[in-house]
């Protein structure tokens, strides 16, 4: 079974804790709850980090030592505009529009736009926010992995893992260069004064291709493929300021 939850959550968690601990005491105290929810539209910036394994443990090509690895390891920067309603609307507390740059060392891939709605539950010290939405864009190429294995008789084996491209990103290139997928999100939010502090996890529900190739010494090709829906989580920590 794939084990997408085998993630290192240490770095963003440490960052989130650091943010909370460094808040002044008077800032940490939430404004008194009134009958209406505190409304506002915030500009948020943050970092995100996801890391894990996509590949099966049992496959045509799986072996003990990964030459190139099948892990993905992404550090991202994000920018969002998030609006909190004064009153719930259709059971929703607000919506969010965002942009995330996955993989900061390469400029071309890893540009994702997102739109989501959320409902928050105010627990006085902070609010728990549950959200869902869609991400669309050019995915990071960190999810495209190939691991090779040569065996002693000259047979070449390799497994290629990739996101199933299912959308077009216009004005960029080919017709199957983009991806769109749903996600769910759980986070903790504090909104003292004009500030917003948020940390949580977003889980993309993404379809992946797994292709196993085997080429015999005589050139005979054997190809096995499958598609799987995987949960790809990443942690994030945001800081925001109320615009209006």
């Amino acid at each position: 079974m794939p084990d997408p939850m085998r993630n290192s959550w240490i770095e963003p968690s440490a960052f989130a804790v650091l943010v909370c601990l460094t808040l002044p005491v008077e800032v940490q105290a939430q404004e008194p709850l009134e009958s209406r929810r505190k409304s506002g539209t915030y500009l948020q910036a943050g970092i995100a980090h996801g890391q894990g394994h996509l590949s099966d443990h049992s496959s045509l090509t799986r072996w003990d030592v990964a030459l190139f690895g099948t892990d993905y390891d992404l550090v991202s920067a994000k920018l969002e505009v998030e609006s909190h309603f004064g009153d719930t609307l259709l059971q929703l507390s607000g919506f969010s529009l965002g942009y995330r740059k996955d993989g900061l060392r390469r400029a071309e891939p890893g540009h994702m736009l997102s739109a989501s709605v959320f409902r928050d539950l105010d627990l006085k010290l902070f609010a728990v926010k549950l959200g869902t939405g869609l991400e669309w864009g050019l995915p990071s190429l960190n999810f495209d992995q190939t691991e090779f294995r040569s065996v002693t008789d000259g047979t070449l084996r390799y497994r290629h893992t990739s996101i199933q491209r299912n959308a077009n990103v216009p004005f960029v290139g080919t017709t199957t260069d983009g991806v769109v997928y749903p996600f769910i999100e759980v986070s903790l939010v504090q909104r003292p004064s004009v500030w917003l502090f948020e940390t949580g996890v977003r889980i993309g529900i993404i379809r992946f291709n797994f292709d196993d190739f085997q080429i015999s010494p005589t050139g005979q090709l054997r190809h096995e493929s499958e598609r799987k829906l995987l949960f790809v989580p990443y942690l994030f920590a945001d800081i925001g300021i109320r615009l209006f």
Partner: protein, 330 residues
């Protein structure tokens, strides 16, 4: 501060309010915006001395190297080629070479014999000039007969971009008709004789992915992946991600060879292998990456891709830092 509800504010009003914020709030907003404009810098390339002086970096280059090199057949380099191929072979860094089969090339050509005599596997690039033959099937028969040791043949190279306008040119649609004819002929008259590689797609910018998409639309995916390998030249990985949708979709079952890759600066050859070869493999699932080129003349646009130069001085020809690293000569 009085909080505004979301439904009170239209976009124009909201945008206007952004500029009405106090100066310190505007600074904070600007800082948050700036946060997203983080440096997207590519990793700094390593110099030859960085690599040669660091066993770990040298080991990484060697582990990423793909033992395949393109060679321009020319008589003046015969002795140097023979020496360079043997040195790379002896070091375990060369398994196959890509050679262009021109109409003028005979299987008795001394340079060809010198290279094939080393026992190295050969990928035969059937020159673009054959694409304009009225009977390409007959040409294929003759090439197969003349070069029985070659088991992989590539039908053309960068056919829509490399041919000079002064001579005949070919569109990708015309090429696909021709490739289909060659494919059908080989399967019917020479079954099992050879694998065919498509023409190499030009390796920079969006042209390559768009051309591969066109080839798919014109029937490439209808051919049997047992007998056809997709060939790509790649010098710029900026748009390599554009291939992934096609290779993971219509061409999912096909093998991929990168038939040319490299960088025009000998000081960056090793860095290219270390940084870009793994990306090429990961993105394109390329089984092979052919370095371009063993010798690209001593002057001109291809010279600084060369692993060796001044072949007339063999055995004291110039060797690039990457060549020295691969052969363990320095």
């Amino acid at each position: 501060m009085a909080a505004a509800t979301c439904d009170e504010s239209g976009f124009g009003t909201a945008f206007g309010r952004l500029f009405q914020l106090p100066a310190h709030r505007r600074s904070l907003v600007a800082s948050l915006l700036l946060w997203t404009v983080v440096a997207c810098d590519d990793p700094s390339p390593l110099t030859p001395s960085d690599i040669l002086l660091n066993p770990r970096l040298a080991s990484e280059v060697l582990s990423q190297w793909s033992p395949h090199v393109g060679i321009h057949l020319t008589g003046e380099a015969q002795a140097a080629y023979q020496d360079a191929v043997s040195a790379l072979q002896a070091a375990g860094r060369l398994r196959s070479v890509r050679l262009e089969i021109r109409r003028s090339l005979s299987s008795a050509d001394p340079t060809y014999r010198a290279i094939s005599g080393t026992g190295i596997e050969i990928l035969g690039l059937i020159s673009n000039e054959f694409l304009f033959s009225p009977n390409i099937e007959q040409e294929i028969d003759q090439i197969f007969a003349a070069f029985p040791e070659i088991r992989h043949f590539q039908i053309g190279n960068e056919v829509t971009t490399i041919l000079p306008n002064s001579g005949p040119t070919i569109t990708i649609g015309q090429y696909m008709v021709l490739f289909r004819r060659v494919y059908d002929h080989v399967q019917s008259r020479h079954p099992g004789r050879a694998k065919l590689l498509t023409q190499s797609i030009y390796g920079s910018g969006l042209h390559g992915p768009e051309e591969l998409q066109s080839m798919v639309n014109m029937g490439l995916m209808d051919l049997d992946p047992q007998h056809v390998i997709i060939a790509i030249n790649i010098y710029d990985l900026g748009h390599a991600g554009q291939y992934t949708g096609i290779l993971g979709g219509s061409l999912r079952g096909f093998r991929v060879w990168v038939t040319e890759s490299g960088i025009r600066n000998p000081d960056l050859h090793a860095s290219w292998v270390r940084e870009e070869y793994p990306r090429i493999r990961n993105l394109l699932r390329a089984e092979r990456v052919y370095w371009y080129v063993m010798w690209g003349e001593d002057s001109g646009p291809d010279t600084d891709f060369s692993l060796i130069k001044n072949p007339r001085n063999a055995p004291d020809y110039w060797k690039s830092p990457l060549f020295k690293l691969l052969t363990g000569t320095e």
